[in-house]
């Protein structure tokens, strides 16, 4: 776990090449505690790559990524999670054959370090069950707790996805297009849901939908051609002429 008041996530001069193609160059980025940052940019700007670098899917070609005090670039996913970084997936990845309760239970188990257990007795298991219940209640998914995940509606599965991401108790939450494939109304509900679930936590997300971005983020970084073009508050970004250029003559996506 990271500690202290320092930044939660720091990227220093991070670059990523796939063969001869340079996807990201000289990315510098700092997320302070409690900040909610959105990464936006036109298609092909390198958002997904950056996201995958931070979440540990790829290792950067050069540069340093720190979570709190510790270097995390190139670290395997499970260790990243144990250090306090958790991510959601753009294509919903829930355990379809299990109940909603079991889905979240697995995440809470991991937070308590119970990754190899054969027995389910002792105080810690009562805590795990209790915290699972609490989280489900807090997410207002109580009525769905016993439903098999694959039978849930799409937006319910997305909500479950967010719940699992939060349930490992991370310092930093990465959300990959949390409202992709949703209708206007569903997306608006999702924004409120994410806001409630991630209250007081640090958030980094990639999102296309500007309503969602402005609804959730308190700072925005704009990525263009593999570099960070601008970082600032939503209002500042909206008025930045460079950003409007990058987005094809000002039409915001």
């Amino acid at each position: 776990m990271t500690s202290g008041q320092g930044p939660v996530l720091v990227l220093e001069d991070v670059a990523k090449r796939f063969g001869p193609i340079e996807v990201l160059t000289g990315i510098n980025l700092t997320l302070s505690r409690g900040e909610k940052r959105a990464l936006i940019g036109p298609n092909g700007a390198g958002k997904s790559t950056l996201f995958n670098l931070v979440s540990g899917r790829f290792a950067p070609s050069s540069g340093v990524i720190r979570l709190g005090e510790k270097r995390i670039d190139g670290m395997p996913a499970h260790q990243l999670n144990r250090m306090g970084l958790s991510r959601s997936f753009q294509i919903t990845q829930v355990f379809g054959g299990m109940s909603l309760y079991e889905n979240i239970y697995m995440a809470v188990m991991s937070r308590h370090g119970k990754r190899w257990s054969l027995l389910r007795s002792g105080r810690v298991w009562r805590d795990i069950a209790e915290q699972t219940r609490e989280l489900i209640d807090y997410a207002q998914l109580t009525s769905l707790a016993d439903r098999q995940a694959s039978t849930l509606a799409y937006s319910e599965q997305r909500a479950l996805e967010i719940c699992m991401t939060v349930a490992t108790g991370p310092d930093l939450i990465l959300l990959d297009e949390p409202t992709s494939g949703m209708s206007r109304v569903e997306a608006a509900n999702m924004v409120a849901f994410i806001g409630r679930m991630t209250e007081g936590r640090t958030l980094l997300m990639v999102e296309h939908d500007m309503d969602v971005v402005f609804g959730l983020a308190d700072t925005i970084s704009v990525l263009s051609q593999g570099q960070i073009l601008a970082t600032g508050t939503p209002a500042a970004i909206r008025d930045d002429p460079r950003v409007q250029d990058a987005y094809l003559g000002g039409s915001a996506h």
Binding site: H78, G96, M98, M109, K114, W116, S117
Partner: protein, 434 residues
């Protein structure tokens, strides 16, 4: 976990509904030696071994979604190490005889840790290929290392008495095997129900998700592989204990194939499915293998039919039938009878064809034809003499096949519909693949 049937109102009643048949079955198995002759008891010992082997194997498949094509290695290694321990007891070691299967299980577990670590680096079909290659690797070494594994002659030992138990009579061996099989299956049951079991199922469904929840999936899969190998090794140990011998032929592909076929026929998706498959093929093999040379060919054909027409195996069909019985939907007797008749006709046609061809291509048949002066001497199938070239025989076979096809046409249509439904259920869940 199961969609709630409306008839199972309370969990207690559902549990009772499951436990009572199992208890009855166990009671019948315990009482069996009173009613059974030696031959059947002998067959049941083999059934127990095959069942435990298949259950250990299916931990990997049914729970973790990994299909091994080389499990014979762990079965055989368990047998080898058990026989070596038996030899050590014979020489005066104080290892208690009743714990012998554990020696085999532990050895295979350790081997499974190493092999599993390599095999689970990759998933899906790569995993399958690596298991094949590892089996070949071990086999090549074992077959050359005669002083250790006994070569083709194998190693023999005897079951030493332990306290009051002599282990000399078949009935002792039967109870011993049955007890260890039940212990092994209970172990697997508890593993499945444990928190670890939940994580393993999670790996099967969404491995990446599990990793991003903080679980080291490679280590977990290695552990599952090793446990699966260990239980298979226990089964191998039971075989060594029963036969009082092993040899390197156990390491061959046939024993990997058998367990895979048993699991598919029984059904990988139901906990005790592999037991069903192992029981059927072992008993059939025990009694039918004497009647035909082509038993393995029939088994292979049955395997392919099951893969195409009933991917969830016999126990899957059973579960579906049970659900249907408990629902209000009418039983489609007409369709069931048609299907049964169709498959029976197909099977008879296949058996006739294969047995006739098999007899005709024998060199001895050619010699018979020359000595008797008849171009196509008669062949005995089902205790009846058939003229292989007569239009009656050939026409009869053709009739069987066409009748079967006609009866099954309806079945094919339903099967297609089921396939579509299943595909829909599977969609969204990525298959283990490249």
């Amino acid at each position: 976990m199961d969609p709630k049937d409306k008839a199972t109102h309370s969990p207690a009643r559902a549990a009772l509904l499951r436990l009572v048949p199992l208890a009855l079955l166990l009671g019948a198995l315990v009482a069996l030696p009173r009613f059974s002759d030696m031959a059947f008891l002998n067959a049941m010992v083999l059934v127990c071994i095959a069942a435990l082997y298949a259950m250990g194997y299916n931990l990997l498949w049914g729970q973790a979604g990994l299909i091994s094509f080389g499990h014979a290695t762990y079965f055989a290694f368990g047998a080898s190490c058990t026989i070596m321990t038996m030899a050590a007891i014979e020489r005066g070691s104080s290892f208690p005889t009743p714990l012998l299967p554990l020696a085999g299980g532990a050895a295979s577990f350790l081997m499974g840790l190493v092999a599993g670590w390599f095999a689970t680096i990759r998933t899906g079909v790569y995993f399958a290929m690596i298991t094949v290659a590892i089996t070949e690797l071990v086999r090549a070494i074992v077959q050359r290392w005669d002083t250790m594994f006994g070569g083709e002659a194998g190693i023999t030992s005897i079951r030493m008495a332990w306290g009051p138990i002599g282990f000399q009579k078949l009935i002792d061996v039967y109870y011993f095997t049955l007890a260890w099989t039940v212990i092994g299956i209970l172990l697997l049951w508890f593993l499945q129900r444990s928190p670890l079991g939940t994580v393993i199922r999670g790996i099967r469904e969404q491995e990446e998700r599990v990793r991003f929840l903080g679980y080291d999936t490679h280590a977990l899969k290695t552990l599952v592989f090793a446990i699966s190998a260990g239980v298979s090794g226990m089964a191998g140990g039971l075989l060594a204990f029963t036969n009082e011998s092993t040899n390197v032929a156990l390491y061959e592909g046939a024993y990997s194939t058998t367990v895979l076929i048993n699991t598919v026929i029984g059904g990988a998706g139901v906990f005790l499915g592999p037991v069903v498959g192992a029981t059927l093929t072992t008993l059939f093999g025990y009694y039918v293998a004497n009647l035909t040379y082509y038993w393995l060919l029939y088994m292979g054909l049955l395997f392919m039919v099951i893969v195409v027409c009933a991917p969830r195996g016999i126990s899957g069909l059973g579960v579906d039938a049970f659900r249907r019985l408990r629902s209000d939907a009418p039983v489609p007797w007409g369709r069931i009878v048609r299907q049964a008749a169709g498959w029976l006709a197909m099977a008879l046609g296949c058996i006739m064809t294969i047995e006739l061809i098999g007899a005709v291509v024998q060199p001895s048949y050619g010699a018979l034809a020359r000595s008797s002066g008849v171009a196509w001497p008669p062949v005995r199938v089902f205790g009846i003499s058939w003229m292989p070239a007569s239009p009656l025989t050939l026409g009869g076979i053709a009739l069987l096949f066409s009748f079967g096809a006609l009866m099954l046409r309806d079945g094919v249509v339903t099967a297609r519909r089921n396939v579509a439904k299943l595909a829909e259920a599977i969609a969204g869940k990525p298959e283990p693949g490249p």
